[in-house]
């Protein structure tokens, strides 16, 4: 897209996108680090992840302020309007992803250190496709690529299937050895958080798609595996 006649308008939209991508980058590492802390029983890393969350909240507030001011001063139209709308929505989704990652990190700190590596590994394995979804949708956001956004949107079904199998795996551990029930419950919540992060990526994909095309993706058209926890 060519530049605005008022060049400061282009600069402001660019800054908005840059801030959102920066926020997305922080949140992405929060997911990976939180799950890696679970995997390696690294309480220090978990604490660090929790400490990153206020930074995310601050970025959110800052982006929101930019958006309100931009709407008041520039009254964006057409693609600009969609970009501002989508920025406002995406920033909210990212903040939620930050919260969910923080929650995983908090649980990582509370996890009994005797929980075995095979149980820990399950969460870590699920983190990688989830963070990849986020990474890909942020790429789609950065480049305004509607088909890349749609691919992420369709990819959420894999996350759901991953969640279902992890859920079964945890149940098996808990049935086999009731002493793992406490840890298993934490693990189930962590898996659920990852699954919900996947949903937030799907939402972001919808906004990126709308921003790029002006059309809405309909959730009814999305491939969907029923979830094991109802």
């Amino acid at each position: 897209m060519s530049d605005h006649i008022v060049s400061a308008f282009t600069d402001e939209l660019d800054k908005l996108a840059a801030d959102i991508l920066r926020m997305g980058g922080i949140v992405e590492t929060m997911i990976l680090d939180a799950c890696s802390a679970v995997n390696k029983n690294d309480v220090e890393l978990a604490r660090e992840v929790v400490a990153r969350d206020p930074q995310v909240d601050k970025l959110e507030a800052d982006v929101e302020r930019q958006i309100v001011s931009l709407i008041a001063r520039r009254q964006p139209m057409a693609h600009d309007l969609r970009a501002v709308f989508s920025a406002l929505k995406v920033v909210g989704e990212l903040e939620r992803v930050g919260d969910l990652s923080k929650n995983i990190a908090k649980r990582a700190q509370r996890l009994d250190e005797n929980v075995g590596p095979s149980m820990r590994k399950g969460i870590y394995r699920m983190a990688s496709p989830v963070s990849r979804q986020l990474n890909m949708v942020l790429d789609a956001y950065a480049t305004g690529n509607a088909s890349a956004a749609k691919a992420v949107w369709e990819g959420d079904d894999d996350i759901d299937q991953h969640y279902n199998s992890l859920f079964r795996e945890m149940l098996t551990y808990m049935i086999e050895d009731p002493r793992t029930i406490g840890a298993g419950a934490h693990m189930l919540f962590m898996a659920k958080n990852l699954e919900r992060i996947g949903d937030h990526c799907t939402n972001i994909a919808e906004f990126v798609y709308f921003q790029a095309t002006g059309e809405y993706l309909l959730s009814t058209d999305r491939p969907k595996t029923p979830q094991i926890d109802g």
Partner: protein, 276 residues
């Protein structure tokens, strides 16, 4: 040709179906292949455009793209410009208004016009409004005339402000009041169509809001076409928007669609303030 009209009617119906003004969604005016030249310089290129009734159609586009020229076709105001030549059909009520048999004076009583600069006649407020009904013989008695003046001023949202000073000169009013006086004058002759060429460009935000409120009220009754340079105003007051560029109609659609998701790159560049 016939299919184009049918299609445009369908889109019109689709476009206004959500509106509270039900029923009359057929085009009030059907413009077909309009070309306009000033001497040997062509200003409008083959524009076809249906204009729906009981709604507001906004014409937008960069300066010099032919909005005013096109608007003036709709009441044959271009007749008054020596060098100006108009071809094509403009169908209103089954008649081509460009037909030589059509009396332009009578036509202008059916198609009222409000200009950028308020232009009250150098007469009293009362006479500004009464002038049209008098020359068109719309009022039988003095009472009829009084009633018409009051009704028009009320409809234009000006009555309360001027009812005690009807004999003061029209140009003693503020700019915004004068503009509403001109709108009252335009509607006094019971037009079917009201054309407005940048009616708010000389007004402050409060006066502008009053006019916009009035336009919204008037659209329940009239077919309104407004030229405006304010994208926000077009977005606020109109149901359909047409984008003109270099004398061509680039895109026409529901106002929401034009401002959230225009189909044409030229429209996008213009409304978002980009270099074309």
């Amino acid at each position: 040709m016939e299919t184009t009209i049918t299609e445009s009617r369908e889109t019109l119906t689709a476009g206004t179906s959500m509106d509270e003004t039900q029923g009359l969604t057929y085009p009030r005016i059907e413009c077909k292949n309009i070309n306009v030249s000033y001497g040997d310089k062509q200003a409008i290129f083959d524009i076809s455009l249906p204009i729906p009734d009981r709604s507001v159609t906004a014409l937008i586009g960069p300066s010099g793209c032919g909005k005013s020229t096109f608007l003036r076709c709709l009441n044959r105001m271009n007749d008054t410009i020596e060098s100006c030549k108009v071809t094509g059909e403009i169908i209103m009520d089954g008649e081509n208004i460009n037909d030589p048999d059509i009396d332009p004076v009578l036509l202008r009583s059916r198609v009222g016009m409000v200009f950028q600069k308020p232009n009250p006649f150098p007469k009293s407020i009362f006479d500004n409004i009464a002038y049209g009904p008098r020359i068109h013989g719309l009022a039988e008695t003095r009472e009829d005339l009084d009633e018409m003046v009051e009704k028009s001023l009320r409809r234009a949202g000006l009555w309360e402000e001027v009812k005690d000073r009807l004999s003061s000169p029209g140009n003693s009013l503020s700019g915004g009041q004068q503009q509403r006086l001109c709108i009252a004058r335009a509607i006094a002759v019971r037009p079917e169509v009201i054309l407005m060429d940048e009616p708010c460009s000389a007004l402050d935000p409060v006066a502008t809001a009053r006019i916009e409120e009035l336009i919204d009220e008037l659209r329940k009754r009239y077919c309104i076409v407004i030229v405006t340079h304010s994208m926000q105003q077009a977005a606020r007051v109109s149901q359909r928007t047409a984008f003109f560029h270099l004398g061509e109609l680039v895109e026409m659609g529901e106002t929401d669609q034009i401002f959230t998701n225009p189909r044409e790159r030229r429209t996008e560049d213009y409304i978002t303030g980009r270099f074309g």
